[in-house]
């Protein structure tokens, strides 16, 4: 992973000093509420339902064990002993005191961490594939490019006060796990005539107006990446709407101008700056690349006897965990392992201080001291020797981190929701728990197969409900919590999903779910999910056909019937729940 050079450290230290002074001025009434709000947001500090919430950046999801130990220390000293991993590959603390935040930021700076631009109308934390650098289907490692974007976007003098927040995602693999199609800018690394570059999608996003991004440029060479981003952002900064925050994201500008006109404006601006000082040269690329420390894989590891398969044959729960939570690695003898933060009874993404410390020890022992945070709110050990999997599983089980549900219905993505968030219309975590309890039979969960279930407590869509195979959105109706259900969303697709019905290339095959009908009371949600699942099970050709595949094959109607009960016929075909 990337390690700071003295310049990085100096910038973070000076940012801590700047924020400490801003907080002091605010507490001395030298800085008004209105002036302080945007400034604290750009340091990740919200004032929430119960207390301030501090969102700490985990750049493109890469986390070192010693950093995780510091997060545990912060959780214990300044919070209530836990943290919450978000869908943006960041971590949030829900209970710090405002006057303690400068000290927390100073503590973070000692381990090369910060909260810069984790909120506010600026360029946010760049995200990527949680298997970046290790995925067998990866053609270009996006991590160095993520770091280049991180540095460029950090304290960017021109783009600190955009019309609205701005999120960039980078993918370098054939299967898009970074969801580039639903970001303000999505970058798909590729190669053209031996030169590395990027396909550039602009104007995707979720929230109130979910849209899949438009391909604005099929290829930008690596040395032009930052000037092209600068041109994209400058057009947006000048022309994005500022009169209505609900229409201020770049997706609305691209839609209103049309993608062609937006592209023309970007290209005109880019022509003026592309060969200017913002162009990346080889020396700059080398300077940043040199700061990465890569795992030193053992070339002889495949010579070591691997007992994994024999042990799996004897223990079905180990076998399930292997199938669900262990992922292929490009280096022979190694695998990636997901530590599920989706144990039933625990809010999705939450992890305690003692768990963090135990995970840090495990990462040192099994994973070169490194971890990844996935946008599914799990942690990943990216480089585990395969022959040590059983040993690892035995360590994870008592920590509650070995729930074998990755890709399954109970691996629910959920925002903090109305229990914590001031923006939410409805709670998310209790809904997630009620669904997990309804589907507590793991065999049945495996029978259902791959199913992404995502919950957002409001239209801001932090729980990514639009791209859930089943999406659940909390809405407010006359002061009451209701839940709207969508199906058929996906964050990406296989190659067959790369083109839509009109033959247009779409970003990574992302699709926005469709609403099945009138919304439901909270208590009814688990039953609705079960009815959707029963409809799917009755309709699928085989267990290889996933829920989302059936939705695209047969459409919404049978699911509507299954849920709203206009025909008993559909229900009778479905197998009874075990």
């Amino acid at each position: 992973m990337y390690t700071y050079d003295p310049i990085d450290q100096q910038i973070v230290n000076e940012r801590v000093a700047q924020f400490a002074d801003q907080t002091r001025r605010f507490l001395n009434n030298e800085l008004s509420d209105d002036d302080f709000r945007p400034l604290r947001l750009q340091n990740g500090l919200y004032i929430q339902r119960h207390a301030p919430m501090l969102r700490v950046a985990i750049p493109y999801g890469m986390l070192a064990s010693h950093q995780l130990r510091t997060l545990a220390h912060i959780a214990r000293k300044w919070d209530r002993g836990y943290g919450h991993f978000s869908t943006r590959q960041n971590i949030q603390f829900n209970w710090p005191k405002l006057e303690d935040v400068p000290d927390i930021l100073a503590e973070l700076a000692t381990v090369q961490m910060h909260a810069i631009q984790t909120s506010g109308n600026c360029i946010r934390n760049t995200t990527t594939d949680h298997f970046a650098g290790i995925a067998p289907d990866e053609s270009i490692n996006p991590l160095v490019w993520c770091e280049i974007i991180r540095q460029w976007s950090t304290l960017h003098p021109e783009f600190a006060f955009l019309p609205r927040k701005f999120k960039i995602a980078v993918s370098g693999a054939s299967h898009d796990r970074a969801a580039v199609g639903v970001h303000d800018i999505g970058l798909q690394a590729c190669e053209e005539n031996g030169v590395i570059g990027f396909k550039v999608w602009v104007g995707g996003g979720m929230g109130r107006t979910p849209i899949v991004g438009k391909l604005i440029r099929p290829f930008v060479a690596w040395y032009d990446l930052l000037t092209y981003l600068q041109a994209c952002l400058r057009v947006y900064n000048l022309h994005g709407r500022r009169d209505n925050k609900y229409k201020a994201r770049i997706k609305i500008l691209v839609k209103d101008l049309t993608p062609d006109v937006y592209r023309e404006q970007v290209e005109a601006e880019w022509a003026r700056i592309k060969d200017g000082p913002g162009k990346i040269d080889q020396a700059e690329l080398d300077r940043i690349s040199r700061q990465f420390v890569w795992p030193e894989y053992d070339a002889a590891i495949t010579q070591i006897a691997d007992p994994t398969d024999a042990l799996a044959a004897q223990d079905v729960s180990f076998a399930h965990w292997l199938r669900r939570n262990v992922h292929a690695h490009k280096v022979p003898g190694y695998v990636a392992v997901t530590l599920s933060l989706k144990q039933t009874g625990v809010p999705p993404g939450d992890v305690t201080d003692t768990q963090m410390e135990a995970i840090a020890d495990i990462a040192d022992d099994f994973g070169f001291g490194e971890l990844r945070v996935s946008h599914e709110q799990n942690l990943i050990l990216a480089d585990v020797a395969r022959h040590r999997l059983h040993e690892l599983w035995l360590k994870l089980k008592p920590l509650g981190l070995a729930t074998a549900n990755i890709g399954m219905l109970t691996n629910i993505i959920a925002c903090p929701g109305g229990d914590f968030c001031a923006l939410a219309n409805a709670v998310s975590i209790p809904v997630a728990q009620a669904i997990q309890e309804r589907f507590d039979d793991l065999d049945f969960v495996y029978e259902i197969g791959e199913l992404d279930l995502n919950i957002s407590g409001c239209i801001n869509a932090c729980g990514h409900h639009h791209v859930g195979h089943i999406g659940i959105l909390g809405v407010d109706k006359a002061g009451e919590e209701w839940y709207q259900v969508t199906i058929g969303g996906r964050q990406s697709g296989g190659d067959d999903q790369a083109y839509d019905s009109r033959g247009e290339l779409r970003a990574g095959g992302a699709a926005i779910g469709k609403i099945i009908g009138p919304s439901f009371a909270r208590d009814d949600v688990p039953e609705v999910v079960e009815k959707l699942v029963r409809t799917y099970l009755a309709a699928r050709d085989s267990d290889a056909e996933r829920f989302v595949d059936v939705v695209s094959r047969i459409g919404l109607e049978p699911f509507k019937v299954g849920v709203y009960g206009e025909s008993d016929n559909v229900r009778h075909k479905a197998p009874a729940l075990q």
Partner: protein
């Protein structure tokens, strides 16, 4: 109609890296008057809207006391380009001011970049309006070299904030002098 900004009692203009009293005042023509007909008197300190400058620039350039022009967030600085050179003709112009009605409206940063990078403007570029201790560093990096600090913000603090950061990542933007 002439509307003068009230003169503040403290020196809150940062210029050439030092504090000065701000003598500038904004000329606000009546919206019903044709822009080329209503001009402020020929005396020191006037800042006129971009539309007033564009309509009356010939007369304004010839004044004893040069005026400054003001670029509002919704203005297009490209309208200042002269046909022959493709740059801003600064003859008879005191300075260009860019307005930040609210510091969260970041269009002024891009206007500054367009003026400096694309329109070849090398004269004084002043940030006015909601100019905070906390934004002055970004402004300087985008090409501003004078700053009318918002009342209520300590001008000395703003001067010091020009050096909030000793390092920077974006190579295409100015170093702070």
């Amino acid at each position: 109609m002439i509307d003068a900004m009230s003169h503040t009692e403290t020196a809150h203009l940062i210029r050439h890296g030092a504090l000065e009293f701000d003598q500038a005042r904004l000329f606000a023509p009546d919206a019903t008057d044709p822009p080329d007909r209503t001009l402020p008197p020929d005396e020191a300190g006037w800042i006129v809207p971009l539309s007033t400058w564009l309509a009356g620039s010939q007369a304004l350039r010839a004044r004893t006391h040069p005026v400054a022009l003001l670029i509002a967030p919704e203005d297009d600085p490209w309208t200042l380009r002269t046909d022959d050179a493709g740059t801003v003709d600064a003859l008879g112009l005191a300075f260009i001011a860019v307005d930040f009605p609210a510091f969260t409206d970041g269009r002024g940063y891009s206007h500054a970049q367009v003026l400096r990078q694309h329109l070849g403007y090398t004269g004084e570029l002043r940030a006015v309006g909601d100019v905070l201790i906390d934004t002055i560093f970004y402004m300087a990096r985008c090409g501003f070299d004078s700053f009318a600090v918002k009342p209520g913000h300590d001008p000395e603090g703003a001067l010091a904030a020009l050096h909030s950061f000793s390092q920077r990542y974006q190579r295409g933007y100015s170093e702070v002098a």
